[in-house]
């Protein structure tokens, strides 16, 4: 089981998840949007589950030029283009559910 590193800054971190058939350009597509908006990638991890690519990025939005809502819109649009499902969620959701 691969563990993702927990970063030092809390609260401004988001989890970006990509689920769908693997193809060329997925990582490039997502990371380009993050780079353009000054969002730092803290960790990136991927695996294959039931023939689907599952990629998870932890990113820090501390210096981001855009807010989470706008980031979501851009990622969802990119996902549509690439034929995969992309979402960005506040990291707290996962920590609250799986960690005490």
């Amino acid at each position: 089981m691969k563990y993702l590193n927990a970063g030092e800054k809390k609260g401004r971190r988001v989890i970006i998840s990509v689920i769908g058939p693997d193809r060329v350009g997925i990582i490039a597509g997502v990371t380009t949007i993050l780079a353009e908006n000054n969002i730092n990638i803290l960790d990136i991890s991927q695996t294959i589950m039931q023939e689907f690519l599952v990629m998870v990025l932890i990113a820090d939005m501390e210096q981001s030029k855009i807010d989470l809502s706008t980031l979501k819109d851009r990622l969802i649009a990119k996902g549509f283009e690439l034929g995969v499902r992309i979402d960005a969620q506040n990291e707290d959701v996962f920590n609250f559910m799986h960690r005490l």
Partner: protein
């Protein structure tokens, strides 16, 4: 140190298993809005609701987006209107119902609860005026929900109120006859009603509550069903453990959303109600959980035991996940809102008597049940009396939300649409209870109410 599997588990719960937050409900105290002039009181009520809840829907939508967890409903509960309106010199309470409806529309919530009276030991002048106005209020408003508490373990059962509510339900159905008696779907008769319930139609803001509060109701029958399926042929210990762990995770979402919403709205966080609330969507059904445990159909022998296990395991898991658990907190078994329950009734597996037995081990009671339109007021009162007796004796909340569907017979359906769903009309016993109901008075509190 989150694992990729954990992240995917959460995403799957939302996307495939219907995990959502069923409601964030803002409770608002209206006692300070009472005024001898009903128009002045209503202006104060409207202003207070729109001031405090003005941002409720926007904050809910922001959280939903940020966390990626759907928040299905944003709602408001208020102080029982009988207490607020009782001070007004007015015989007509319709103006209060219309004010609540207008305020709810203004802030964009789909339901506002609290057109309510607490009459478990007796009926005051204000209570009586409110109860008499319920049929009209529910027929001529869209968003107002009403509830009446007719019994508690400490006071016993107010059988005068039980008799009265049978007639009120009949009249409510008749005034909303063209919509299959929809008004009755917005009216709940309670025993031991909780003061912090976030779920409609029974929500109101109790007198022991703060000025304003955020209560949250979680959902997630679909998530529990998948977990039960994954437990395979495991024994009951394994089953209970699986449900507990799943309920824990679901409730954590409620805790997070509730605390975040309360902080952003600047009001205290009240409770998470850990009830499993089904929706008409296939796969989001409490009946299907029971069937996944090994029952061919919900309603057959073994159903009560299965529900008891489910309800208890949900409580144990949920209680560990939240700092404050409250409200109803148990599995709901509303017939019209649960695809598995509807199927069980249609196939003849589930009857009213079995549903009544099931309410002994879960919250909340006989919920969203359609019965023939010619069912008498006395029979409805007797159904209420049975149900509240279960609550009173077992020191728990029970309730009745029943629809005597005008012009409908057994085998017909009523259609409410949306979350209220559709219900097959169920048979009631054909023997009369009228002689029992007409006695009037109060059934004394049980001996175990003498706990002091």
């Amino acid at each position: 140190m989150l694992t990729i599997q954990e992240i995917v588990e959460t995403i799957k719960m939302v996307q495939e298993e219907h995990l959502d937050i069923r409601t964030i409900t803002m409770g608002i105290n209206l006692l300070d809005c009472a005024d001898a002039d009903p128009r002045v009181a209503c202006t104060k009520i409207y202003d207070k609701i729109t001031r405090l809840a003005g941002n409720l829907v926007r904050v809910g939508e922001d959280i939903e987006r940020e966390y990626g967890i759907p928040i299905v409903n944003k709602r408001i509960s208020v102080t029982p209107i009988a207490l607020v309106a009782g001070c007004s010199q007015s015989g007509d309470y319709m103006i209060f119902a219309q004010t609540l409806d207008r305020a709810a529309a203004e802030v964009g919530v789909n339901f506002i609860g609290g057109y309510s009276a607490l009459v478990h030991k007796g009926i005051t002048g204000g209570d009586r005026k409110l109860i008499d106005s319920i049929p009209t209020a529910l027929a001529y408003t869209e968003r107002v929900c009403s509830s009446v508490n007719v019994a508690t373990t400490h006071a016993g059962i107010n059988m005068d109120a039980v008799a009265l509510m049978g007639r009120v339900i009949k009249e409510t159905a008749s005034l909303t006859a063209e919509r299959d008696g929809l008004g009755c779907a917005k009216l709940v008769v309670f025993a031991n009603v909780p003061e912090d319930n976030p779920f409609m139609a029974g929500a109101f803001h109790g007198v022991g509550e703060p000025e304003s509060v955020i209560n949250v109701g979680v959902s997630g029958p679909g998530v529990v069903k998948r977990a039960v399926e994954r437990a395979g042929d495991g024994d009951f210990g394994t089953l209970a453990e699986t449900i507990k762990k799943t309920a824990f995770k679901i409730t954590r979402m409620g805790e997070l959303v509730g605390r975040t919403a309360a902080a952003r709205l600047g009001v205290p966080f009240g409770i998470v109600d850990i009830s499993l609330a089904p929706t008409p969507a296939v796969g989001d059904s409490v009946a299907e959980i029971l069937e996944a445990m090994g029952l061919e159909r919900c309603g057959t022998h073994g159903t009560t035991a299965a529900l008891a296990l489910l309800n208890d395991a949900v409580k144990k898991g949920g209680a560990m996940a939240s700092s404050y658990v409250g409200g109803l907190s148990g599995a709901f078994i509303p017939v019209s809102e649960d695809a598995g329950m509807i199927r069980a009734v249609e196939e003849g597996a589930l009857h009213l008597d079995k549903l009544e037995a099931m309410t002994c081990v879960c919250s909340v009671g006989l919920d969203m049940i359609a019965v023939p339109g010619d069912t008498t007021a006395e029979t409805i009162s007797a159904i209420i009396a049975d149900e509240v007796a279960i609550g009173v004796i077992n020191q728990k909340t029970t309730a009745v939300r029943i629809i005597p569907a005008p012009g409908k017979q057994v085998g017909d359906h009523v259609e409410f649409g949306g979350l209220l769903g559709r219900a097959p009309v169920m048979p009631v016993h054909r023997f009369s209870s009228a002689g029992f109901i007409k006695r009037g008075g109060r059934i004394p509190a049980p001996v175990h109410s003498l706990g002091n």
